[in-house]
Amino acid sequence: MSADPRVAVAKEEARSRRTLQRLDSWVLPLFTVLAISYLLLPIVVMIIFSFNDPVGRFNYQWNEFSLEAWMNPLARPGLPEALLHSLIVAIVATIAATALGTLIALALTRYSFRGRSATNLFIFVPMAAPEIVLGASLLTLFVGSASLEPFSSIIPEGALFPLSLNTIVIAHIMFCISFVVVAVRARIQGFDTNLEQAAADLYANEWQAFWRVTFPLIFPGIMAGALLAFSLSIDDFIITQFSSGVVNTFPVWVWTTVRSSLPPQVNVIGTIFFGLAVGLVLISTIVGNYRAQRRLRPVDR
């Protein structure tokens, strides 16, 4: 029973801090579990229905368990080619867009130069352009490169026309760059530049300082940009349709197939994509943890 008001306030504060910590210890994990379940709910449905043996051509109602689709995951006309094309396009476009985008982000955050604010704003424009407009205008460009002089004699045949995997990749890199820039910039902004400064002192030149200090620091941002680019590219439909000619990609294949049928193979492919992505990271996490533990263990010899 202390009469000192300061003690009372301190006690009250300590109590509320405890409540906070107690609440915090279960509210946030609970929310995380709920949010992740929300994200995964349609994926779970997709996986379940990949084991369905649908009654009609549409895989909507649960009928009976079957491994049929898993035994023949590619047994649909055009599906293997479409998948292959999509993977090639997504991988090439992701790598290229991530590289180009990261360079832009570095320039915009690390240096001050004339035209910087204009470039900053310009980066958002391709994101704001409706897909159909991007697609149609690119098609006009590709066709123009083959039909209008002087372009048709300068540009080698097959580079921009006829439409092919090339043109799809060109288009995908174009619409992915901005997303990478924005993601990488979010990482670089607010970094303590003292670190780099210190590194520069240590390593004598900027090149080394960049690779030893800056790059590892911004790497998560680059990864985030690459993931965004990959998920955009692997799922793009409209722009691809305008730049693909007779080449099919997986989303285009799904969109056209789903008009007349929805075979469980579609679910199987989706499941494999999902499983591969999570599986690879799971393995690398486990390997990483294992290594970390070994490093922590005291050396026997």
């Binding site: 906070l20 915090d24 997709m46 159909i132 998920s231 996490t285």
Partner: protein, 353 residues
């Protein structure tokens, strides 16, 4: 060697870094944009004999005409895109926070689980949602048929709610990733220090701010989803009030019980670049989206992207379609500009715009 070169030509480095990417965007975005701009001043239907474009005609009237005629669709786009952005922040911020600060070794795994659903096909995800939320699906089976919480003829498909939910789901990773990368770099020692400095919970100011923010949000949801429209003008205010009250209460509780002063003073300011990037990555594509409204909406919920799509494909009306596209792009640019000024600290507004 390289280091010395870099040092000597330091002035040119930013331009060299920009060159490849900007060149790409110039060739494959700006150059094809020029014929599009000329289309936006054209008259008649493309690929038909009646089609005329500059220099024959300069149909500047395409722009005001498009705005007047499609005002409703612009309104839908802004409302649904805005709501989707808010919902992705509400879901994405705590999620990114939990992964960044509590994820431990499993950070990257958790992050991948968040993004991996988006490597499957958009259509499969939408169809899965339809299986869950469809008229014969388990959700309505419980909520409508068993519990009777909604009218018997209620269905989710075709409502603004369905469109906003579709957008929210689709763009959630675009929020979580930048939030995560900007939260992850926050130095834990800073937070420790802040804890020592600023006692505990963010009260009582936080409680009040939480309540006000919640109430505003509740009102925005009701208005944005057009429930006010549905029940008729008399009950508009009552409904908005109800929404505001419910969300205000939730906001008060959350701010009172969960938010610490250390978070408000240290963590949140440091994550603002992530909030800024995430909200733009969601808002911009969501406002221009057409596919969710097409698959999940009704004629009354169509967004400006649907109009552009339709004018282009069905009508060959390149004039209106490209005029709308340019209006959309400039509107978004202006919004970004203002947003950066409002949200931005010194550094941010210099860095972002």
């Amino acid at each position: 060697m390289i280091g010395r070169l870099i040092h000597r030509y330091r002035r040119w480095i930013p331009y060299l870094l920009l060159l490849p990417g900007l060149l790409w965007l110039f060739l494959f975005f700006v150059v094809p944009g020029i014929p599009m701009f000329l289309y936006s001043l054209s008259e008649g239907r493309a690929f038909s004999p009646t089609f005329q474009q500059p220099p024959e005609v300069w149909a500047w009237s395409n722009y005001p005409d498009a705005v007047t005629r499609y005002a409703d669709n612009f309104r839908n786009s802004i409302a649904y895109g805005g709501l989707a952005t808010i919902f992705t922040i509400l879901i994405g911020y705590p999620l990114a926070y939990a992964i960044a600060f509590r994820g431990g070794r499993y950070k990257s795994l958790l992050l991948f689980i968040v993004i991996a659903p988006f490597f499957t096909s958009f259509l499969i995800r939408t169809i899965s949602w339809k299986i869950i939320l469809g008229n014969d699906g388990p959700f309505l089976g419980i909520v409508r048929d068993t519990l009777g919480l909604v009218p018997a003829n209620f269905s989710i498909l075709g409502t603004p709610l369905a469109v906003v939910a579709g957008l929210t789901y689709e763009f959630l990773p675009f929020m979580v990733l930048p939030l995560y990368v900007s939260l992850e770099k926050v130095d834990h020692r800073l937070i420790e220090a802040a804890r020592d400095l600023y006692a505990g919970p963010w009260r009582p100011r936080g409680t009040m701010i939480g309540g006000i923010l919640g109430a505003l949000l509740g009102a925005a949801i009701v208005v944005g989803l057009g429930y006010a429209d549905v029940v008729g003008p008399d009950q508009n205010l009552a409904l908005i009030g109800l929404g505001a009250a419910i969300c205000g209460a939730i906001g008060t509780l959350v701010a009172h019980l969960l938010v610490t002063e250390a978070f408000v003073r240290v963590t949140f300011p440091l994550s603002i670049p992530g909030v800024f990037a995430g909200s733009l990555l969601v808002l911009i594509p969501a406002v221009g989206d057409y596919v969710n409204a097409e698959l999940l909406g009704s004629p009354k919920t169509l967004m400006i992207g649907n109009v552009i799509q339709g004018r282009f494909l069905n009508q060959n009306d390149y004039g209106t379609a490209s005029a709308l596209a340019f209006i959309l792009m400039s509107a978004i640019l202006i919004a970004i500009f203002i947003y950066a000024r409002v949200l931005g600290t010194e550094e941010l507004s210099a860095g972002a715009v």
